[in-house]
Symmetry: C2
Subunit: 253 residues, 2 copies
């Protein structure tokens, strides 16, 4: 059962201003919600699930003490942010403040300068999880971590990778970062350059790195293309993946 008021409240969480106000966000689907329940169920405030999800997971739901409500498929459609809702929606509490100290002598990390596309952002969080980047930094104007599309496209990686929104200059100063790499169109070839620990700045999908942040980059790098006449650029998330892969490879192989 779900009341009209609850439906309205959950629908409101599709929008950032209401999420920030309530400090609540949504995570959906069988696989995702199971992963949250198993890894960190204390972030779940309340679950809304269809009868068959509850039937299949009754033991774990009862033993974890999570508050859950049985709803119909039609009610799930009303509250879901997905085109094809999948049995369960979790209303979750925001994470606490993210620790923003990273030891750049030991690790490399990413700074996303005004990333906008939720799918790209979520995919990059998933990438960070794969390669063991514990904290990602974003400019304050970047896409919201708690956007349902970001959460869904992390495929659960948001549970492990921390995201902090800070100006680039502050991160550099606070962490005393020496090497500031920047993904640009005319930098040094990533395959030929020695890539060591530092902060990798990735620009906005349409406009690249802002002028202000570009001035802080001391190692401009580029993924070489096979020809000068082809495509102008790669998708931002894909370029990030290729660069992170090359950093990882040079350090481990």
């Amino acid at each position: 059962m779900i009341s009209k008021n609850q439906i309205r409240q959950i629908q409101a969480l599709h929008q950032k201003k209401f999420r920030d106000n309530q400090k609540l966000f949504l995570a959906e689907g069988v696989k995702m919600v199971k992963e949250i329940v198993e890894s960190n169920h204390t972030i779940i405030q309340e679950l809304f699930a269809t009868a068959d999800f509850i039937f299949e997971h009754e033991n774990i739901l009862k033993s974890s003490g999570i508050k859950y409500n049985e709803i119909s498929d039609k009610e799930l459609e009303q509250i879901s942010s997905l085109a094809s809702p999948n049995k369960v929606l979790a209303v979750c509490n925001y994470f606490g403040e993210t620790k923003t100290e990273v030891d750049f002598k030991k690790f490399f990390s990413l700074y996303l300068d005004d990333i906008r596309d939720p799918g790209n952002f979520g995919t990059i969080i998933r990438l960070a999880d794969w390669y063991g980047i514990g904290t990602i930094f974003c400019s304050p104007t970047s896409c919201d971590l708690y956007n349902p599309k970001v959460i869904q496209s992390t495929m659960g990686a948001f549970l492990r990778v921390k995201v902090a929104y800070l100006p680039l200059e502050k991160i550099i100063t606070d962490n005393n970062v020496g090497l500031i790499y920047g993904a640009v169109l005319k930098g040094k070839n990533i395959y030929a350059e020695r890539l060591t620990n530092g902060l990798i700045v990735i620009g906005n999908e349409a406009n690249g790195i802002s002028k202000e942040n570009l001035a802080l980059v001391n190692h401009p790098i580029t993924i070489p293309s096979h020809s000068a006449n082809g495509t102008e650029s790669l998708n931002a998330a894909m370029a990030t993946g290729i660069i992170v892969s090359e950093f990882f490879r040079q350090q481990h192989y």
Copy 2:
């Protein structure tokens, strides 16, 4: 001006069955359409554009002989496949038959086994263009190249990269391909393995490579993760990008 009948006909092209029937597809937005006009305007059957697009591009439109119609923003919204239409929509003719011979002694290529997400597919076509892969192969059940979301996310790369839908076995036989790499969860480490020209099979987003096609793979490969406890997989397009990058790097650097 656009008639109600034209609006209906263009809206129908949002769906594959009508596209296949008419052998027509849509490409939208100022940058995309300009690129088509400049590179291969003969594929354009007709343009529908707002007054300011026509005003800004009148010379090139007239000199190319493209048939164009002035429409209002409201009419553009009706025919567009985009959430935010951008001044111009081109109705284009399908490409002819794709030549499916690739010299695998000289090049490597991709086989997408049942790729489904249009954004992933378009991004992979853009990747292929960047690294000079001239032809991509797809299983017959894969996402349609002419899906408007695919076309838009190629950012114009669909003009240069050919896509052919064929069973894997047929490509291997026709081209006498010796090395069939497959992206799997437990294969040889891409950074440690010597990667040479061949066909790289990429699996479906949720299910990986089909059992049937997996039997044809003779070099299973894997992108190593930093730990066994993290995320289960990477986004399919991103994994493809990392693998293609590593093939390219080993051959050129």
